[in-house]
Symmetry: C2
Subunit: 214 residues, 2 copies
Amino acid sequence: MKYSVVVVDDHTLLSQAIESMVNTFDKFKVLYTCKNGGEVQEKFQASPRNIPDIVLVDVNMPVMNGIETTEWIVANYPNVHVLALSVEDADGTILKMLKAGAIGYLLKDTQKEVLEKALLEIMENGFYHTRNVTNLLLDSVSGKSSKNQVNFKENEIKFMRLACSELTYKEIAERMFLSPKTIDGYRDSLFTKLDVRNRVGLVMYAIKNKIFTP
Amino acid sequence: MKYSVVVVDDHTLLSQAIESMVNTFDKFKVLYTCKNGGEVQEKFQASPRNIPDIVLVDVNMPVMNGIETTEWIVANYPNVHVLALSVEDADGTILKMLKAGAIGYLLKDTQKEVLEKALLEIMENGFYHTRNVTNLLLDSVSGKSSKNQVNFKENEIKFMRLACSELTYKEIAERMFLSPKTIDGYRDSLFTKLDVRNRVGLVMYAIKNKIFTP
DNA sequence: AGGCTAAAAGGGGTTTTTCCTGTTTTTTAG
DNA sequence: CTAAAAAACAGGAAAAACCCCTTTTAGCCT
């Protein structure tokens, strides 16, 4: 009897490649792959037989979906273990994933054997070793990372994306059908909320947090 | 008898995952994987047994190594087919890969079956269908892409990286031990060279071209 | 209806950026 | 060594960005 795994990644090629890899492991078998959190919900709800033992979630999905997905799985299927896969770097995101209930994370430079070992550890001990480090990590970095659960409004997101272009604020205002002064307001409030000094800081935040993808 | 494939990607997890996938294909077998172009050179030169039929090169390797690797393979081993794998987007890079002699490219959303089909086509027809499109592409976009072989000086690179921070130009000048007016000069010349209007445009260029990694 | 709150808009100021025009200094090549 | 090229530097003006603080507007509440 093999343990069942589900892979969640918006890049088809990658999720399928990881599927192939996991399928070479003795004790594991991929049930299916998903392109995003929504698909996970559908599949899970479609049939209780489809609930896997482990879900491998890619951190890098647009607009925080990696985190939301993890939260949803942890809340609704507490017996399912979520393992975060960070193909690209993702700074604070990885901490948020852990906080959301992921049981461990693996970086892009992981060896195949390490992944297999991690999966085995999870099933046999209930956790992967990073779990121990997690809380310490969360505490030590919490000042910066854990309370940064910033909630954006629609317009703020829209504005941030436009700010990642060469448009002036005046031009952004036109495109959003708002007064330049309102845009000034958006900018200023985001500056303080995100603790940045200028537009470049805002742009970097948007990129790091997948609000804008270059 | 199976065709041999080599996977080049700096992300161990991904190259191994793709290895597993390719190994499930009937007619293909992965010889080994490499983390960068240098490793490819070593392996190729070590023994003629190491020369594969196809090399899968990830576009996203820091500082243009995807392109250099492709050029080297094409120049030294013309019988080896290079297929570019673009896990993340890479804009002009993909055109450069094709120009460097890659025989086709596959995007992140490729289906497993498509990859297998592409590999088969390459071995049986000598090219993957994108090859036909390549030259047209290169011509049609050449105005923007092919002549954009911009060469940067050390200081320009350094400046661009600093411009991707929240520093003002005056502060950048201090860190580079130069007059603010010199920095003005760097900026203005880069603006015209890269055809951007402002600092955000510069930042975006730096990120897209892997000069700065967020 | 009055009061509360949040989004939108505005006034007016300083600083930084952008875009010209140059000049001086340093490097390079013959 | 010298002419030419490249790099560093500058003055000044206009635009954009940044910052603080106030007012209007719109929706909600009981």
